[in-house]
């Protein structure tokens, strides 16, 4: 007879994994530094190198081009924090650690939850650094405090979307070789949105793609929240929650497959 998981076992497993994941993250410069350098380089390149785009006819953004690009970097960093945690999970499978974890965990859903907490913690560190650098670089925020809570709340949801997708892949393939499969779709979805200029200034095929791309809603909402001129905020939150539910199912079915095949 198999004993049923004890009450609170999910939380115990999740917290143990979260502590280990965060501990490993901050103590390994090869993980920690690239996750900070990447968004900062993107921010420098886009906000610094493309600032002239702020004067393209038809471009009107009250908070300025730096804030316009900051929102993209925020969304990208959030989703990539989730993705990189998927990499960690895949690596843990390759090293055999995750298999031992699956044998030891009272309730294996705690494993999925634990890595989600790792993703959120990593994102909190990255977003704090990126936001601090952006403010030091002179970024203007014209939205109010509630708007900012909404902006960072949206970022937290994006972390979970990125994590849900990547962890679902990691549980299925259990190898770091699946890294490009985790990364490429997210990269493409992000860059097929209005990254450099607003949707109205995009022309041709990319306008059509960006119009139906959920990342457009995230960027519009984020830019609306930072500037105080709300745009598609409700749509972005609905899309985000819908995607979390979808990728939550993807992740749990991946976990079941890993349990069956491990």
């Amino acid at each position: 007879m198999i004993a049923a998981p004890r009450h609170g076992s999910i939380t115990r497993v999740a917290l143990a994994i979260a502590w280990r994941g965060l501990h490993t993250y901050v103590r390994r410069p090869d993980l920690f530094i690239p996750s900070l350098i990447f968004p900062l380089v993107f921010f420098a390149s886009f906000a610094g190198g493309l600032s002239a785009l702020g004067s393209v006819p038809g471009f009107h953004f009250p908070a300025g081009y730096t804030a316009f690009q900051f929102v993209f970097i925020l969304c990208q960093s959030a989703m990539f924090s989730g993705l990189f945690t998927g990499f960690t999970l895949a690596f843990d499978f390759e090293s055999g650690f995750a298999r031992r974890l699956m044998l030891a965990a009272e309730d294996r859903r705690g494993i999925a939850l634990g890595y989600a907490l790792v993703a959120l913690s990593r994102a909190a560190i990255t977003l704090t650094v990126v936001s601090t650098v952006a403010l030091l670089a002179g970024m203007r925020i014209t939205g109010d405090g509630v708007d900012l809570i909404g902006l960072y709340g949206l970022a937290a949801l994006l972390v979970l979307i990125g994590y849900g997708w990547a962890a679902g892949v990691a549980f299925r393939f259990r190898s770091i070789q699946a890294g490009p499969l985790m990364q490429t779709p997210v990269f493409l979805i992000l860059f097929l949105a209005p990254v450099y200029v607003p949707l109205t200034l995009l022309k041709g095929w990319i306008h059509g793609v960006a119009t139906v791309n959920p990342a457009t809603a995230f960027l519009d909402a984020g830019r609306g929240l930072i500037s105080g001129a709300h745009d598609h905020t409700a749509l972005a939150f609905i899309c985000a929650i819908g995607l979390i539910l979808l990728f939550g199912l993807w992740l749990l079915s991946g976990l079941r497959r890993a349990e069956a095949e491990a």
Binding site: I37, G48, G49, L50, L53, V56, F59, L201, K203, I206
Partner: protein, 258 residues
């Protein structure tokens, strides 16, 4: 002398085939720069409306970056392949044969340069299909292929240095973002006269990658711009010479360890 050429030819052939036979190495070289070109050319088309932008076709402006991205991927592939040979012991076994020391790396680099010429040809064709206009004409095609091969050779040599110094494919892969930063902090997306953020303009001006990009770009947009080509070739030759010197040093150290 003939034996020397035969050795280099055999190793060059192996180097080329090793890359061409692995789709996961060819995919980023060919498709990644083109995907980025498609995305950037559409997303940044509005930039052509800025006063002072040198052309109405952003594809013609941005295609130059593909040549540099391709060379960067060659750096990683070359370094990873050499590191794999070191890790598997193949490099050591090769070093124990009567093969000349210089042939060990020269063969690899000749293969890399040939691949650089090949990938430049692919970018030219796909760029023209995408709507880029090559103002310099047929002569420009020749110059692009030569500059592409030279740039890939220089970057490939850097990959060899990394592989010889670390002996680890993972470590070479880890260098990829570091090299990619140079593309981001250059005049890859806008011409330098339109880089309005002071510090970014300074970094892009000091960044040698800007001059490589501008040399390729000049052939597409202006035709024959002697100054841009001189600077581009000077950077490509300089990078290649420095990297080759570093390869010689790293090879000596590696073989001493062996």
């Amino acid at each position: 002398m003939n034996a020397h050429v035969t050795q280099i030819r055999a190793l060059a052939r192996r180097s080329m085939l090793k890359t061409l036979r692995q789709p996961f190495q060819m995919f980023p070289i060919i498709f990644f720069p083109l995907i980025l070109l498609a995305v950037n050319a559409s997303g940044l088309r509005a930039a052509t409306r800025l006063p002072g932008f040198p052309t109405h076709s952003y594809v013609s402006f941005a295609i130059a970056v593909a040549f540099i991205q391709g060379a960067m991927f060659s750096l990683i592939n070359t370094g990873t392949n050499l590191a794999e040979d070191i890790e598997s012991g193949f490099f050591n076994r090769l070093a124990l044969t009567p093969l000349r020391r210089v042939s060990l790396i020269a063969g690899l680099l000749v293969g890399v340069a040939a691949l650089g010429a090949l990938q430049s040809g692919v970018y030219i064709i796909l760029g023209l299909i995408a709507g880029a206009h090559l103002h310099a004409g047929l002569g420009g095609v020749f110059v692009i292929i030569v500059l592409g091969a030279l740039t890939t050779l220089g970057f490939g040599a850097m990959g060899c240095v990394a592989a010889l110094r670390t002996g680890s494919g993972e470590a070479v892969q880890g260098l990829f973002p570091l090299f990619f930063v140079f593309i981001f902090l250059s005049s890859s997306n806008l011409p330098r006269n339109l880089l309005r953020t002071g510090w970014f303009h300074t970094v892009a001006t000091w960044n040698p990658i800007s001059y490589l990009i501008e040399a390729f770009r000049s052939l597409y947009i202006f035709g024959w711009d002697g100054a841009a080509l001189e600077r581009g070739f000077a950077v490509a030759i300089g990078v290649t010479l420095i990297a080759l010197l570093a390869v010689v040093g790293a090879l000596r150290t590696r073989l001493q360890r062996t």
